[in-house]
């Protein structure tokens, strides 16, 4: 069975009668990809679940006005990324324990407490090294290294030039390698 295209989903969504069905199709098509994009930013499953729901609510609200200036999935990735970063900043602001610390300290604590993180020591060290990267480099590294996303798509999502993204990824890899060598 061939998968329904984004254009077909959007056409169904325009009609009030088929709107709900179209949205369910969209959620089913993209839920995993968006979940993993969010999860790699917020790290804990519970937070990823909250952010994913917020993301789809935002997508629902904006979908009628969506125009084909960008691909549908890069537009949704952008919403997911922004929602994740906003969520982390809000969570840190609300947290008493991490109010005066960096978001990264909170994320390491979240990761260690998350029952759905099943990494060995090397994976914990890799995640800690990723968390030491500046925010933009962290996003680029996750999207390229884990998701193997094309620079062109990444460029649309992060609204950054392909050249700048390649440079960011190169710096990120070098920094992570040196951090991991220090740990060994």
């Amino acid at each position: 069975m061939t998968q329904i295209t984004d254009e077909e989903i959007l056409q169904l969504f325009q009609d009030k009668k088929t709107q709900s069905e179209a949205f369910s199709l969209l959620v089913k098509k993209y839920q995993e990809r968006l979940y993993w994009q969010i999860r790699k930013i917020v790290l804990s499953h519970d937070d990823a679940d909250d952010v994913l729901q917020n993301t789809f609510v935002k997508i629902w609200k904006g979908l009628l006005n969506f125009r084909y200036d960008a691909k549908l999935y890069t537009w949704m990735y952008r919403i997911a990324t922004n929602e994740s970063l906003t969520f982390l900043k809000d969570k840190q602001r609300r947290s008493i324990a991490f109010a005066n610390k960096d978001v990264e300290d909170m994320l390491i604590a979240n990761l260690e407490a998350d029952e759905y993180f099943d990494g060995d020591q090397a994976q914990v060290e890799l995640q800690k090294a990723i968390l030491q990267l500046p925010e933009k480099q962290r996003l680029v590294f996750n999207m390229k290294y884990f998701d193997e996303m094309k620079y062109e798509d990444m460029s649309e999502i992060l609204e950054t030039s392909v050249g700048a993204l390649k440079a960011s990824y190169h710096h990120a890899v070098k920094k992570i390698e040196s951090l991991l060598k220090l740990e060994c």
């Binding site: 959620v27 089913k28 839920q31 790699k40 994913l52 729901q53 609510v57 759905y116």
Partner: protein
């Protein structure tokens, strides 16, 4: 570097996610469908304020009554509702009449429409 994902998700997480998201959207689209507590919440605050006011007022009235007054027989206590407050201003006027000029008296009478009989009775 290892590329394996150390992150897991709860079993069947993605299977019912779509339903949960649709429920959440329905709630956002129809905020009027509130539960009973949410509907009554503003009224509960009002009721609590009124009760608090009544309680405080009762407390003040109870403690404000002098002790010796409380010991008096009820027949000797003049009910405050029977005191004629309407005559207070008139009595004050007649007590101070000697110091008042004729013009002021005429002006007062025309303003307050006091009957001649009542005026004579106080002379």
């Amino acid at each position: 570097m290892k590329k394996d994902q150390p992150f897991k998700v709860p079993e069947n997480y993605f299977e019912n996610l779509s339903d949960r998201i649709n429920e959440r959207i329905e709630k956002e689209e129809n905020p009027k469908e509130k539960n009973l507590i949410q509907i009554l919440k503003p009224y509960m605050w009002m009721a609590a304020s009124v009760l608090a006011f009544v309680f405080v007022a009762k407390l003040i009235l109870t403690t404000a009554v002098p002790t010796d007054f409380q010991n008096q027989p009820i027949s000797q206590i003049e009910d405050s509702s029977t005191v004629n407050t309407e005559n207070v201003e008139s009595d004050f006027f007649f007590d101070n009449m000697s110091e008042t000029s004729s013009d002021e008296i005429i002006e007062y009478l025309s303003d307050y429409d006091i009957a001649t009989d009542e005026l004579l009775a106080n002379l």
